[in-house]
Subunit: 374 residues, 2 copies
Amino acid sequence: MNFKVLKSDVNSSARTGILKTDHGEIQTPIFMPVGTHGAVKTVSPNELKTVKAQIILGNTYHLYLRPGIELINTAGGLHKFMNWNLPILTDSGGFQVFSLARLNKITNEGVEFQSHLDGSRHFLTPEKSMKIQQNLGADIIMAFDECPPSDADLSTINSAVNRTKIWIERCSQYLAANPSIYNWEQTMFPIVQGGIFPELRKQSAEDMIPFAKCGIAIGGLAVGEEKPAMFDTIEFMDSILPQDQPRYLMGVGTPSDLIQAVSRGVDMFDCVIPTRNARNGQFFTSFGKVNIRNEKYKFDFSPIDENCECEICINFTRAYIRHLFNIKEVLGLRLATIHNLHYYLNLMELMREHIQKGDFQKWSHQYLNNLNED
Amino acid sequence: MNFKVLKSDVNSSARTGILKTDHGEIQTPIFMPVGTHGAVKTVSPNELKTVKAQIILGNTYHLYLRPGIELINTAGGLHKFMNWNLPILTDSGGFQVFSLARLNKITNEGVEFQSHLDGSRHFLTPEKSMKIQQNLGADIIMAFDECPPSDADLSTINSAVNRTKIWIERCSQYLAANPSIYNWEQTMFPIVQGGIFPELRKQSAEDMIPFAKCGIAIGGLAVGEEKPAMFDTIEFMDSILPQDQPRYLMGVGTPSDLIQAVSRGVDMFDCVIPTRNARNGQFFTSFGKVNIRNEKYKFDFSPIDENCECEICINFTRAYIRHLFNIKEVLGLRLATIHNLHYYLNLMELMREHIQKGDFQKWSHQYLNNLNED
């Protein structure tokens, strides 16, 4: 895998680049739709290509529980299992263990948890996370880190930074001793922790950079902290992370978050917002959100967004989509998901174009003004 | 609208034909997917075209309750509302009133019922059914009939036959006095009732034939009677219905039902079986049913049907689809629906080809033998 910066914006830290993987090239900055369980909820792999998804994310925790690693391994990896032949990134499983499962015990050895599905007991370690992700066959494997909540105090976050350092060493040792079982390259991204504390971020970055071969992640943000603190932290990270590797901001965010993070040097994103909000009837547009359940759209025969070129806006009206949500027709969930993913991926494409053109900052100010976001 | 028989089988009553409507031609025999509420559940209009649907059915009862006729009328009719530009047939609403709503009173005037959704009271008459269907804009409008249950005795069915006669006259008078509000032709199909009693079927056919301009329906079957009685009744209808009009057997059926009914002169079908069973994980194939939730498919990386050319069988494995059903991922419901509709519509195409070739009877015996249906 390799990464090349194509163009750096003169007025901000925004840049375009190409990340090459054995499953294809990724134009950055890029947004990665979340394919929780081996499917981006409601949509097919072909539809993901229609909305120009270049890479998707799979959740190790979910896939480990269902359908289990043996099945995906027997299928020839997650790409084959779900019929997605472009790049895949898998998370480490840690975040869901911390946020979704019943957490029993964290030690330097690993994390003991109970499944949110059936209460069954599991033990996840850095080695096991690497092994699972190798078996899933992801192009990009995420390091196993400890992600404390945003309201954790400095000493808790400090301890997470220290543990994350111990764990990255074990992740790295495991990967060195156990080469990929598939015939494509799998590259690990270490994850910088440290909450919103610059000194801890600096420490964690120094811990992680030696393990970053072609990409590094900013973890532990968008977990409840204030937006200004999040952007300050991203800006600080921008100043200390290597320029020649892609930076992946985990779990972020809204359209305005993406624009502001790109201007602070972020190259990759994932988030459930476009897909989850879609299933709640919330559509993203260049003029802000459309909550399609609203009564005012009952007789509205215009598309979700007049200026949008997605197949949903070409083919269906607000009145019809609202009706689908009213009758709980699952087709509605899909139409919303396709529109929102198109919106997100089109937004990334717009950013790439304007960085390339050299007017990213001017464009982004205008765009943010029109967004009218809460 | 007009209908032309293209080829009649010499060994059976099967025939091919073309039914021309203002929204396009329909090759018969044909199966009509059921689009309950302005959507064939889980699939998009484009996907319906991919599986070669030529006409779909809309349910007047459901559409009348949600989203209501005013909205669909304002949209410019059901075709426009749901973005389906091929022919649509709507039922009269009567069947759902009898089977789904709380029925309060049936008189010669009409049917008083309460919505299954909110208990609201409604009164449906032949005139109102015609008016609603005109507003929906269906190419084929179904007469308002009384459909008694299969266990009704002869005198109950006799009374339904008599009431259906009174009602067809009122339907016809309403349509004569109130021309279509859209710029396409809307043709009413009368519905023959009479249960499994030949004398009542004969009476009802005589009542209905004068009102059949370009199509007639066989109602009151597949409501619980034994299969031999159903086929005997279809055979009897074949002997007395006009040859030069399409015959629509309402609410039928399984793949083997379709083949046997086509051999008895039926041209059109609708049924929820392919779509409803799909959502329960039951796939139709040329060798019988595949219940994908079955444990034996867990590691089965073959397609649902090796010989099927639908996009689902080309792109996905049994193991993956089973996983989607296990995690309750709605993508699974859609993949199953697309496969089953493809199967049904491909089966109709096969029948048309073999009628055309002249070997329908030989082919159908072989096909039924391989089906292995319960």
